[in-house]
């Protein structure tokens, strides 16, 4: 018997034809926990060229905390079908926002890569994070005035095509803006972004 990854209640999901005949992954959380997450309506999108899926409410805060800081890697699976639905038909090249290598080593995994991997989305890394500084500890003004913190990977050739940046959470939009600017300057045709959460 499977148990809900968030509340440990036994999972009793109904077996549907859809589950049987499509490659839709089995849910890993119960419906009660799932209901606590709040979807963002189209009119509530805060940033231009960024599509975010969920509000940063209490349940989402707890989820993200356990996933990233509690290092509970398997929680990447909670939103895998949402992420798959949005990204699987994208014609753009998918580029996750990278972590600094030291930071990644410390956390033992890169959460954005993990979100994409469990949703079976192929991605390419063409950015590198230069600073180990944490965005979350800075003020809004500090973030907006900060200098570019990404660089292009050495052997990476940015072609005249579309790119789709992916991050776990968008709070002020600065991270995505930096990455977008870098790609556009290097010759990308169009850069849009996707975030699981809008803070």
């Amino acid at each position: 018997m499977m148990h809900c990854y968030l509340c440990s209640a036994p999972l009793r999901h109904q077996l549907t034809w859809k589950l049987l005949f499509t490659s839709m992954p089995e849910p890993v959380v119960c419906e009660k926990c799932l209901r606590k997450f709040e979807r963002i309506q189209d009119s509530e999108q805060k940033y231009e060229d960024v599509i975010a899926l969920y509000h940063y409410n209490e349940a989402m805060h707890d989820y993200l905390h356990q996933f990233k800081f509690g290092q509970d890697v398997v929680l990447a699976k909670v939103f895998r079908s949402d992420i798959a639905t949005y990204l699987k038909n994208s014609s753009a090249t998918i580029v996750p926002i990278p972590m600094h290598p030291l930071k990644k080593k410390e956390r033992t995994f890169a959460q954005v890569d993990e979100l994409l991997r469990v949703a079976s989305i192929t991605y390419t890394h063409c950015l590198e994070k230069m600073t180990t500084q944490n965005q979350a500890t800075k003020s809004k003004l500090e973030r907006e005035q900060s200098e570019q913190f990404f660089s292009l990977k050495e052997d990476c050739q940015i072609e005249h095509i579309d790119y789709l940046l992916v991050d776990d959470i968008v709070t002020t939009g600065t991270t995505l803006k930096h990455a977008t600017t870098l790609l556009m300057d290097a010759g990308a045709r169009k850069v849009t972004s996707f975030a699981l959460i809008q803070g």
Partner: protein
């Protein structure tokens, strides 16, 4: 973050001379089984202590072989919580060691234990416990029964044997523990009072600290700040005992039958692991299970029984009242007549009341209906972060009553409170839950009685047994 110690302490630590670091590490680590990466000391300092043979390193996750009569197979075991249920293990590609690692989800709230993390433990020269003077200050008095139970408990501590104290709700069982704890402290024993519920830890710790003013009493529960000083007396949730090994000379398990202790095998093992091999376990409860009674008998442990409350008045006997199809009515937006009348009577007489519900869902559907009777009526459940405040509001008569799940079945005292159980036939209201719920009524000497009603959709065996037990306890001759 909750696992890390505060930064200023850390800086102080780094500049201290070696022998001081050694003492700090010893004081903190004695009896503990701690994640190395959560330690407040620099990695090099710990390496040094390992080299000197003072600190032992244990892998976080281990493969163990289990054999049953047909197959032998390998299983993962978490060395902190000792979980071997394979469902709780997850594999992932670890960026730190660049290979597949396994981690335990069972105790992940205390910081992740994975196959590439290490647990550390103190094996160097032990800490000497110094006891200063007489540190036990308590001016209460015992009833003859409390006195007897207390003496019996001390006897078991001296003989180092397990003990079961069966005391009815409101018998004053915490006080009975005081002399036994004092005896332990005096004879340089390290003591842990463990309980499944955080609420109980929060309630017990200040009471115990007050009685032992010169002893450093440490309260441990999820989210508590960890003090790195050594403490001889620890009040902890049973969960926190995952982080101890062979630490205590005596473990007291309060409310031994409370959820989740009885349901989670690893919690019971945690108590065994946290105590020294020969150390006794003292159980205290109002509703001992047959299994617990048998275990004590088998191990030739001592036992005490207090059938009367400290104020010597009898326990309130529940009355049964039918409330057929209450679920349907509440769902349709109507409070059944009898229940409505009961609440209105309480409001009129200005008596504080608790209404217990079998599920959070039903309670949340009903709370709006009850607020039509009185707008200040509130509801509480386990995940409610304002739980403590709401109970306090009721105690201070700022709100007339509370709707609750079984979360308030034990540990709370509200003078003059009246209690109704809605749907007492539900499986969650077993005999001990019903007895505990009944134990909320008439606890103070000024108001030793009150109404206790089980509203039901059919009488169950558990309800009958609960009532029979209460009547039986009340009929017992009281030894003087």
């Amino acid at each position: 973050m909750r696992f890390q110690l505060n930064k200023t302490q850390l800086n102080l630590t780094q500049s201290s001379p070696l022998h001081l670091l050694h003492h700090q590490l010893r004081d903190f680590l004695t009896g503990r089984l701690w994640l190395r990466n959560q330690s407040f000391l620099r990695s090099e300092t710990i390496d040094q202590q390992i080299k000197l043979g003072y600190v032992e390193v244990i892998p976080g996750i281990q493969l163990i072989s289990t054999t049953n009569h047909l197959f032998s197979k390998e299983k993962w075991q978490c060395n902190r919580c000792r979980n071997i249920n394979q469902h709780f293990f997850a594999r992932f590609h670890c960026a730190k060691c660049e290979q597949t690692c396994v981690y335990c989800r069972h105790c992940i709230n205390m910081g992740r234990v994975s196959s590439c993390t290490q647990l550390i433990k103190w094996i160097g020269p032990p800490k000497k416990i110094v006891t200063k003077g007489n540190t036990f200050i308590w001016e209460g008095t015992f009833t003859p029964q409390q006195e007897k139970a207390s003496v019996e408990l001390i006897e078991s501590v001296r003989l180092s044997k397990d003990h079961l104290t069966h005391a009815v709700c409101g018998a004053g069982k915490t006080e009975i523990l005081f002399p036994a704890i004092a005896e332990c402290l005096k004879s340089h024993k390290r003591v842990c009072v463990a309980t499944p519920r955080t609420d109980v830890v929060l309630e017990l710790a200040p009471r115990i600290q007050k009685v032992f003013p010169q002893t450093f009493v440490q309260a441990l529960y999820g989210g508590a700040e960890v003090d790195k000083r050594y403490s001889q007396l620890i009040i902890a949730t049973t969960h926190q005992l995952y982080r101890f090994e062979e630490a205590f000379d005596v473990v007291i398990v309060d409310e031994a039958d409370a959820f989740p202790y009885t349901f989670d095998q690893t919690l019971q093992e945690a108590v065994q692991k946290a105590k020294k091999l020969e150390a006794p376990i003292l159980y205290v409860t109002a509703t001992p299970s047959d299994e617990l009674k048998n275990r004590i008998k088998k191990r030739k442990g001592g036992s005490s029984f207090i059938p009367r409350r400290y104020h010597t008045h009898p326990l309130p006997v529940p009355r049964f009242d039918s409330l057929f199809s209450y679920q349907k009515k509440l769902t349709k937006g109507k409070i059944p007549q009898k229940l409505k009348q009961w609440v209105c009577d309480r409001l009129e007489k200005e008596e504080p009341f608790l209404v217990f519900f079998p599920t959070i869902e039903l309670m949340e559907k009903s709370v709006g209906l009850f607020q039509q009777l009185h707008p200040a009526i509130q509801a509480v459940h386990a995940e409610d972060s304002d739980r403590k405040e709401k109970v306090l509001l009721l105690r201070q008569s700022n709100i007339p009553g509370l709707l609750t799940t079984t979360i308030l079945e034990r540990g709370i005292t509200i003078p003059r409170v009246q209690v109704a159980v809605v749907g007492s036939e539900s499986a969650i209201f077993n005999k001990s839950a019903l007895i505990q719920i009944g134990g909320r009524v008439g606890r103070s000497a000024d108001h030793p009685s009150g109404d206790l009603v089980f509203f039901h959709h059919g009488i169950t065996l558990e309800m009958d047994e609960a009532r029979r037990e209460i009547v039986k306890l009340n009929e017992l001759e009281v030894i003087q």
